[in-house]
């Protein structure tokens, strides 16, 4: 995958996307960078954000606070450019997110069973994002798969990879088995919505 060069113009464009996301979504991504790239890496990312005109600091990110949703996408593009991260890395970031997220502690009560978690998934989404609608279109416990649909959510392709990792890990945590995940439909591929297929067994 070719690394997309980000410009101030592009940053501005992303920041203008309507909607908000909780700080936790940014925080976990940056925690990943801190772990993988160390403090120097984090500094480089912070410098990049300054360069783009959005001087975000790791220490300043409030997990519970609401941030423009475009900042998430901007942060991912900055990560991609600074560290050369592509699809696989963003899937990995997504998989790591539930482990580091404070929200997991809030959602613990939904992890008592797959059914419960699935029932609460839309609510959990809304707790993170003010935009986008998440629904479970299929859940077959016997055959071991879930089909997720995400509508009205168009940020950046990197975000799709991130969500793919995130959904697969969350599913693993509620079914207790390893999960393979696939984005079958994507708004960046001309589809009307994103569709994720998550399979276990």
């Amino acid at each position: 995958m070719e690394i997309e060069k980000i410009t101030r113009e592009k940053a501005k464009q992303l920041m203008s996307i309507p909607g908000e996301a909780r700080g936790v979504t940014l925080k976990v991504d940056w925690e990943f960078i801190l772990k993988k790239e160390g403090k120097n890496g984090l500094k480089r990312l912070e410098d990049k954000m300054v360069e783009l005109g959005y001087p975000l600091k790791y220490e300043g990110i409030k997990t519970m606070d609401f941030y423009p949703i475009g900042l998430d996408a901007l942060s991912m593009m900055a990560i991609s450019e600074v560290f050369g991260y592509g699809k696989e890395k963003f899937i990995e970031i997504g998989k790591t997110a539930p482990k580091l997220s404070i929200f997991l502690k809030i959602f613990l009560k939904y992890f008592v069973s797959a059914e419960k978690a699935i029932n609460e998934s839309a609510l959990m989404w809304r707790r993170h994002y003010s935009v986008g609608d998440l629904t479970i279109t299929e859940f077959n416990k016997d055959k071991g798969y879930i089909v997720l649909r995400l509508e009205n959510f168009k940020l950046h392709k990197l975000y799709c990879y991130n969500l793919l990792g995130y959904f697969s890990k969350i599913t693993e945590m509620i079914v207790g088995e390893s999960v393979s995940a696939e984005e079958r439909k994507c708004v960046f591929d001309g589809d009307d919505y994103h569709e994720y297929f998550l399979k276990w067994k």
């Binding site: 519970m64 423009p68 482990k99 997991l104 008592v112 797959a114 509620i174």
Partner: protein
């Protein structure tokens, strides 16, 4: 206001939300800090058995990082059957207190941990999972095992010590029994020369109770009546002696042996053994007296026989024929041997009675040897033995000896060489000189002396097995007497011999300047 916060109008509700968010963030930090601070490894496990949260202590205990363990089945770190039972009990009872489990670590090892659990419930009081805290018992278990090992080792040591003590006690008893019942007197001096032990036999010798002499030094002991004589004999340094006779009283002669005792080069003290030889000495004295008496009594009739035979042989009693003369000659020689034997016996008796006095004068040892050679030279010739008297020049070698007795020694050596060297054999009489001594040496190539016989060559009445076969008439007194004579001159007598190859007998005396 953050640059990321919408620049719209903040209404009262928004202000409250902002405050709540700040409080929430503070609370989050607090929870995180608390969770991270806990030195106790803690994790949260969902009812599905998935690990949903861990703290740094847990990461350290298991070896798995947060990334590696969150979202994983709890079976990854515990044995399935063990944790299943705990999970079931926790979700049913609300908690489990102190249960031992095996923690399966990332490095493949496992350790015994003590776990305790408590459920977390939702607003409907339904369990949504449980916290599991654990306490690593590895060190305790290791310490416990080490303690058990040490305990076992200590018990073993204790048993060994007890066994050693018992054996030492037994040995001590045995040693004491031996010392007490020992037929000889025993004295043990410590390294400071204080008398540490005296056995009943020794007490008996000196007619003195052990308590009066033990723990006393030599200076005190030397003044103890009777006992002092022994201490004087041993000297101020308790010299080593071997079987030396000491006359304590008229009827008590002790054979004294003293040795210094060492263990691994460490001086421990001195042991003195006192062997009562009074009876042997008395028997020996009586025997000597008898031999002396018998020899004296025999000498007179033997002399009468000698002169009677001489007169007959010389024809003073009338002419005798050849056959009669031969018989009379043999009788005369036998009588001569008998006289010689009686003379030897008398000499031995004198030696043993201490009456064998030495009358030394300054004289030439070559002259003494020449005299002995003169008396035997014809006999060598008659037997066909090649005898050589080797002298280096005519310079005399002056010594301070009893001429008569030293000649007896040389005669004896030459006589033995003659007897035990076969026809056409060789015998040499020679001298070896040093600045202070002269050694007279008689070397033959005769029958030699076996290794078995060699240690007893100078013993009284001893005859070597081969010698007795070759010359049945020997008395076994010659070398005994020779040794006594040389000893009384403070000289040294000895020999070297190889069976079948010959012998060399020698004696050494000091030269007179």
């Amino acid at each position: 206001m953050s640059i990321f916060t919408k620049p719209n109008k903040l209404e009262s509700r928004d202000k409250k939300i902002a405050l709540l968010l700040t409080d929430l963030a503070s609370l989050e930090d607090y929870i995180n800090d608390l969770f991270n601070f806990s030195p106790l490894p803690i994790c949260f496990i969902s009812p599905l058995g998935v690990i949903l949260e861990t703290n740094p202590a847990f990461e350290k205990a298991s070896g798995f990082s947060k990334d590696e363990i969150i979202g994983e089945s709890v079976d990854k770190i515990f044995i399935r059957e063990e944790i299943a039972s705990i999970s079931k009990e926790t979700l049913k009872e609300g908690l489990v207190v102190t249960r031992e489990l095996s923690l399966l670590k990332k490095d493949g090892s496992s350790s015994i941990v003590q776990v305790f659990t408590r459920t977390r419930i939702d607003e409907n009081s339904k369990p949504i999972g449980y916290f599991l805290g654990l306490f690593d018992l590895s060190n305790i278990k290791m310490t416990e095992q080490e303690l058990k090992r040490v305990q076992a080792a200590l018990l073993n040591i204790l048993e060994d010590t007890e066994e050693a003590r018992r054996k030492a006690e037994e040995e001590k008893d045995k040693t004491q029994a031996i010392i007490i019942n020992f037929a000889d007197g025993l004295l043990l001096f410590d390294k400071n020369h204080n008398l540490a032990l005296v056995n009943p036999k020794a007490e008996n010798f000196f007619g003195i109770g052990g308590e009066k002499i033990t723990n006393k030094g030599l200076q005190e002991l030397v003044s103890v009546p009777g006992f002092g004589k022994l201490i004087e004999f041993l000297g101020p340094k308790l010299k080593n002696v071997f079987r030396k006779e000491l006359v304590i009283a008229k009827d008590l002669i002790l054979e004294v042996s003293a040795i210094s005792m060492k263990k691994d080069k460490t001086y421990l003290g001195n042991l003195v053994v006192l062997h009562d030889v009074s009876r042997e000495k008395m028997v020996e004295r009586l025997k000597t007296e008898f031999v002396s008496l018998a020899a004296h009594q025999l000498r007179t009739p033997l002399s009468a026989v000698k002169w009677s035979l001489r007169m007959i042989l010389d024809g003073d009693m009338g002419k005798i024929n050849k056959e009669q003369k031969e018989i009379m000659e043999k009788t005369y020689q036998s009588n001569e041997r008998m006289i010689g034997l009686v003379n030897n016996l008398l000499n031995i008796a004198r030696i043993e009675e201490g009456k064998y006095t030495i009358n030394p004068i300054q004289t030439d040892i070559i002259k003494i040897c020449q005299s002995a050679v003169n008396s035997i030279a014809d006999n060598f010739k008659k037997k066909g033995v090649d005898f050589k008297f080797i002298r280096s020049g005519n310079k005399p070698i002056m010594v301070f000896v009893d001429e008569e007795k030293l000649e007896l020694v040389v005669q004896n050596m030459l006589d033995n060489a003659l007897k035990y060297t076969s026809k056409s054999g060789k015998v040499f009489l020679s001298f070896k000189e040093t600045a202070k001594t002269v050694t007279v040496e008689v070397r033959d190539d005769g029958i030699g002396i076996t290794d078995n016989d060699q240690p007893r060559v100078f013993s009284k009445f001893f005859r070597a097995s081969q010698a007795a076969l070759v010359e049945p008439a020997g008395s076994g007194l010659g070398l005994y007497m020779a040794k006594n004579i040389i000893d009384s001159h403070n000289g040294k007598i000895g020999f070297k011999s190889q069976p079948g190859k010959g012998s060399t007998f020698y004696f050494t005396v000091k030269k007179q300047k």
